[in-house]
Amino acid sequence: MEELVPSSSEPLSPQTLASFRALIISPSTPQSKISSIFETLTRSLELTPDSLVLNLLSELASRHSNLSHLVFDSVRSNSLLPSESTRLAAESLDALASISNTDPTLSSAIDELDDRLFVSLCFGPSVSVRSWLLRNAERFRISPYLLLTLFLGFTKDPYPYVRKIALDGLVGVSNSAVIEDRSMINGCYCRAVELLSDMEDHVRSAAIRAVSAWGLILVASNPETKLYWSDDLFVKLCSMGRDMSMEVRVEAFDALGKINVVSEDILLQTLSKRVLAITKEKRSLGQCPAEQFEILASNVAGVLVHGLEDEFYEVRKSACHSLRALTIISAEFAGEALNLLMDVLNDDSMFVRLEALETMLHMATFGHLNVQGTHMHMFLGTLLDSNLLIRSATRKILKLVKLSNIELFRLSFDSLIENLEKHPQDEADIFSVLFHTGCNHGKFVVSIINEASEEIDQASEGKLGFDSARVAALLVLAISAPLSHGEHVCSIPPRIFSYAVTLLGRISRALTDIMDQNALLAYLSQCSISTTFSATDLNIRRGEPCLPVANIEIPNDTSNEIDGSTRTSLQQEKDGASKLQSWTMREPLELAAPLGGFQVEVHDEVMKPINLILAKVKDIWPSIHSGFTNEVLRTLRNLKEELATFTSDSVGTIGAVAFTLQYLQVIKQLAKVWEHFLPAKKLCSSGLGELDLILGKLDMRLRELRSRFTGLSMEQELQILELVLLTCTLRLCKVEICCHFATLKKLSTTVSRVESILKSATIEPTIFISEVGKLLCLNETSRSEASCNPFKFKELLKHFSLSQFVLCGRLNQIKAELTIPDNDSENPLPFVSRLPVGIPCDITLHNTSNENKLWLRMSMDDESTQFVFLDLNLFGSSDEVRKFTYVAPFYKTPNAISFTLRVCIGMECLFEGVLSVKKYGGPERELTYLCQEKEVHLSMIGEH
């Protein structure tokens, strides 16, 4: 080593440094050599701080973690002096930060670095160091208030690059959500607004981001001034829509799309380049100050129009996107915007056209898509687009759209036919659209079919071949009619349905999302016998809320009218496992609302998006099944966030949102469990314990799902039960998991419940349910150990697939709020040791009925628990909300100066079996908890 180290105190030569580097990098260098290199470098750093040496040291630290502490200290003590050179000091900071990154034990050391050093370096004359520091400020964990001050100050820097970084820094600080001082927020916002008129494009772009970020915080900070600031922000952003720089414009429209409250007159003004007459008249815009009216109006006027006809497709796309959020705000605006969007369908860029269609789909989902006759040419024109994506996006919208008159319906139908003729590969999707639109517009279907029935009859003459695309399309349309809820259903001639049977394969391929082939066949056969029968049946059903309108029943006696082939297939259905699925359950949400026409009005607004979420849950089943657990969990997380945005106050929807959240939890646990059942997956690290744990969680979530919601329809209950069965099955296929017996018992009770539902509601079971039933049946008859074979249960898993949950009726969540007034660790309740103590509880119960058995659970730190029964008959009669104060006795007060008690309200799950080990004086069955645990602090009297 000696030969490498120069004896004198001269700086190390580049050659020496290069050789050091080689040694540091090489994995074979002995540790002793590394240490001596470290010493040499440290000495050199002490004498003449140098950035090359610094680099080497940080390299050394990253490769030899045993030395990282030493390197860290050496760098900190030797080169962190700003007096030497700001550049070097900054580099040292960089080195320190990266060392602490690789070695987590040093993360606290980086916190201890003085903020003052960082700030003083920022104030140095070197611009590059300044910009570097500001850009990397987050790595040094500077306190957010200090950072904010720095960034805010440097927005005044004469160097545009520094201004830009400072603005970006401000956006970063805003994301951390630490700053709550309103004048501070306002200050940041106003400063950013000033920079909107900067000379440099990049600064203006950054300023828009900052204005948007701080503006949104400002808007949210005070509900009183919300609209004022929102309008202000909107107008400020609008003023950038006509900037000469493309990047700035894109940024402006992106930011506009993030605003979700704006006065309607401002919104409408953005769609007209002329100042609207009504605006001119009252000389004010939204909440904006009137004296600046003219300049404001000219800022806002036609901004979105300009955006949509911009030269750059990036801007047009962004403008299209921004419309999504804005069209939700106002229906009138949505109508006006649609006129423009329809024109955008003529855009030369595919991306823009697609974006426009996506926006329309979004509008349709929120019920703000009102298609007019004048739109039809452009809109339906996209069905003939040569691009597959465009055509399919248009068809998605068509599925949802409600057409006001038969002319529009006819136009759409003709265009779909044209689409089918020109692009036969779209057939499945087109049939699906026809079916859905048919369901939505039963009346129009009937009149179209009646006009065309002759054509269909001719096509069917002789050979039963419907080669013509048009006739096939007509048939699909015709068979959808009975599913629309109207009095006209019976007027479709029954023979049409038997014609449709000949196209069974093609049609069923298109309708996989609604029903499978057998269900379709059964449906067609039944309708072909007599539509009047189904119609009367429908009428009965309609009176009953929450039940799907259509009911598909296999006639008990195989009637003579059915031709031979159908009969055989029906007979097959009859024996044993009927595979007919209850199709209404799987029906996508788009249909759910129109079908259940009686319930939609109330909370249609929220139900649609919720059902959309549930539809997505169904879609991720294949991913769960094939083990992409991480993706699945991420998707679920996103869905949860999406769900969190529904803040509707309407009573019905609160329950629905809570239910969906719970459902997502269940699926999340299910996904985690499923991971353990994948064949290829090696899960050596996670032991059995983990699986047990997750299964336990899954059980608990399912229990909550089952017991805490009232108003579930039978189908919905059935779907939950199916999940319960699945959980049991999962347990049973792992030999290692204990409590076989209990699980089997649970399985059989669940199956019996399922059977009773199936009997009373005449719903067809899924394959999985019927297979489970069969296996259980076998078990009971044979009573042999062999039948408990885990492999048999594993076989069952194959049959399971997640079906779509559709929420329709009003759901109520049973929940409780519990508070212990005037109690915290500072104000404990007094007690005397070994004597009972009364704990005053303020309890609010939602949606409970007197049949519910509620318990107050009180547990101490040592896990000793006491239950107190809450007799609901004593506390008011209102089912919806009960509010009362109850003094709960706690008997086993410990011999201690003070203790804490955790109190919670639980409800007995009536469907669960009686607990085998009954706790004395406690509940008989498993509990689900209705509220968060509350801590009660108690303290011995006289001990203060």
Binding site: M184, R191, G302
Partner: protein, 646 residues
């Protein structure tokens, strides 16, 4: 210093454009157009106003031409070859390429059709074009040592540019004709945010605000599609450059998307040749065309075929572009005669057709019979579609541009007088920028920026290197004045960076100007610092002064003085919230406001020589200007203070 703009043409009218701008000793002529409506000397700008002697070379530094339209370039050959200007002429490459075609075409029409006397010959045009220096977009051209010009994209027509000119510290932009919204083949005008003294803008549509172009495009496509789907023929009469290409791109795109197979024809002649120019000058077209030309040149029309006269009577649907526009004669009229009698066919016309043309007749109402000449009458049964695309910016575009550039002064040209006046008012009131709309041969003089070059002292440079920002809270006046008053408005956080703001400019005779840091000023001047302070000797009524006096033997001792101050201090700290009152024993201080008991009966700051001065104790107050408000507040408190001592 001043900028003088002499408007020789297009002053309060749409016609020959020509503005001569003199700034800092340089003289630039922007555009040299002709007015097609006149056939006498009025068709040209009055060049004699530039120089009576006719020595234009010394009178003008250069000529800048914005685009090839005749109302912007028509008089150029006359001015150079006949009037004898031989200085430099600047225009963009496409303009240089296309201008001779336009000039030659015009010359032919004038001489051959109308039999007029020739104003300039073909040779003149060739010679004139030799003097032209072509420039590229955003290329800074140094015309001479002091004058720089730069071209910016203007849309409007192929090769149109706005020109930026700068002499010394004075800068201006002349827009020529421009379009702020893109169309299918050309982009929107694009310019940097510049520091300008003057903006000269066209104002063809000074009051019009146009709706989205999309609607008109949709109507056009719908009409054409409907016609060809029904087996009809579509005739689109256009001029060679611009409109034909724009519409053709629109149709091509639609054809491509809808997979239509119906042929589109171009009549032989100029149009096909013009497409060549477009194909070569791709960098002057719209973003979309530029982006895609490497895979497919938008002007390589796939569906376009050459049209043959024999095909006029051929059956089947088609679309035909034919020259000239307006159906003023030639081939387009010939086709029209054949196709007009069938109601299946369609003719599309532009928003404007010159009076006297067939196009004009078709647009006024929906005639069923048209007299072609005295003997022939044509039965018009075909459909007529009007589409008004215009390559000029609308009023909103002008406002947007003016707002974006925020020049110190605006001059409007190339518009109709009453409409320009309206726009002038808007620019004045909404943007707060002075604006003029001079008539022809008027001169507008505006002052311009003048910069002084100065040396900076080392201390100043040092002080401006390091950031030095301060925060202050300010209640913004403009907001507090508005309706927000009744709400809880918030004080605004203000940031200032003092590093560059605090220099002092010193101009000494015979020396270069110099910037000093403020600390250096006194040193340099050899002066002491003076501070202006206000003073006022304020009486305070003391009801039981006599009593006090008697006990203290008519002399206020030091401790008494202190107790007076003490009392005052208590009073003030109760009244002034937030003010930081410092007690120095002998005197009190609030910010710069200083109070001490005044024993001098003849204090010169004593205004009221009150009769009952025995009942008052006087306090001498001094303060500096900055705290004036505070001072008067304290004094009013003091004057109302009835000192109930002991």
């Amino acid at each position: 210093m001043a900028i003088d703009s002499l408007v020789l043409g297009a002053g309060q009218q749409v016609g020959k454009s020509c503005v001569v701008v003199s700034m800092n000793g340089k003289r630039i002529m922007f555009d040299c157009g002709m007015d097609m409506a006149y056939h006498d000397h009025r068709r040209y700008p009055d060049f004699s106003r530039i120089s009576h002697s006719g020595d234009f070379d010394s009178a003008l530094t250069c000529i800048v031409i914005t685009h090839f339209h005749l109302d912007h370039i028509g008089a150029l050959p006359y001015f150079t070859e006949v009037c004898g200007y031989s200085g430099p002429i600047y225009m963009t490459y496409p303009t240089k390429a296309l201008a001779p075609l336009m000039l030659e075409d015009y010359r032919k029409v004038m001489v051959e059709r109308r039999g007029e006397e020739e104003q300039f010959t073909s040779e003149h045009i060739v010679e004139c074009m030799k003097k032209v220096i072509a420039v590229d977009l955003k290329q800074t051209v140094h015309v001479d040592k002091d004058l720089q010009i730069r071209a910016y994209y203007a849309g409007h027509v192929l090769g149109a540019a706005m020109f930026y000119a700068k002499v010394g510290d004075t800068a201006m932009v002349y827009t020529g004709d421009y379009n702020m919204t893109p169309d299918r083949h050309l982009g929107a005008a694009q310019i940097d945010r510049l520091q300008l003294d003057l903006l000269i803008s066209e104002s063809t549509y000074a009051t019009t605000i146009r709706d989205s172009k999309y609607g008109r495009e949709r109507e056009f496509l719908k009409a054409v599609h409907k016609c060809v789907a029904g087996g009809g023929k579509v005739l689109i009469p256009t001029f060679a450059l611009g409109r034909a290409q724009e519409l053709c791109i629109l149709l091509e795109d639609y054809w491509e998307r809808m997979n239509l197979k119906i042929p589109i024809y171009f009549s032989s002649g100029l149009t096909m040749q013009a497409n060549m120019y477009y194909k070569m000058l791709i960098s002057w077209t719209s973003q979309k065309v530029k982006e895609t030309y490497s895979t497919h040149n938008a002007f390589d029309f796939k569906h376009v075929l050459n049209f043959d006269r024999s095909m006029i009577a051929a059956p089947g649907p088609c679309v035909l572009f034919a020259t000239p526009g307006w159906l003023s004669g030639g081939f387009s009229l010939e086709v029209f005669k054949q196709w007009a009698p069938s109601e299946m066919n369609l003719v599309t016309l532009p928003g404007y057709c010159a009076a006297g043309t067939i196009g004009h007749k078709l647009m006024s109402g929906k005639p069923t019979k048209i007299d072609l000449d005295k003997n022939t009458q044509l039965d018009v049964r075909c459909q007529i579609h009007q589409l008004s695309f215009s390559p000029h910016t609308d009023a909103k575009g002008i406002m947007d541009l003016v707002k974006f550039l925020s020049p110190k002064h605006v001059i409007l040209v190339h518009g109709e007088k009453p409409k320009m006046a309206t726009l002038k008012g808007r620019i004045n009131s909404e943007l707060g920028i002075p604006c003029d709309d001079p008539a022809n041969n008027e001169t507008v003089s505006i002052s311009s920026t003048h910069y002084v070059k100065a040396r900076a002292s080392d201390t100043f440079i040092q002080s401006s290197l390091n950031p030095n920002f301060k925060f202050s809270k300010r209640i913004s006046e403009d907001e507090s004045g508005s309706w927000l008053k009744d709400r809880k408005f918030m004080p605004q956080l203000q940031v200032t960076d003092k590093r560059t703001a605090e220099g002092i400019l010193i101009e000494e005779k015979n020396k270069k100007a110099k910037i000093l840091h403020q600390d250096e000023l006194l040193l340099m001047l050899g002066e002491k610092k003076h501070e202006v302070r206000f003073a006022y000797c304020c009486p305070i009524n003391v009801s039981n002064l006599e009593e006090t006096k008697s006990t203290s033997d008519n002399v206020l001792c030091t401790s008494d003085r202190c107790s007076w101050l003490q009392l005052l201090n208590n009073k003030l700290s109760g009244e002034i919230s937030g003010g930081n009152i410092q007690d120095f024993g002998e005197h009190l201080q609030v910010e710069s406001f200083d109070i001490s008991v005044c024993l001098n009966d003849k204090c010169r700051y004593r205004i009221i020589d009150s009769q009952n001065k025995s009942e008052a104790v006087f306090f001498c107050c001094t303060w500096s200007v900055a705290d004036e408000k505070l001072a008067w507040k304290i004094i009013s408190i003091m004057e109302n203070f009835d000192c109930e001592s002991h």
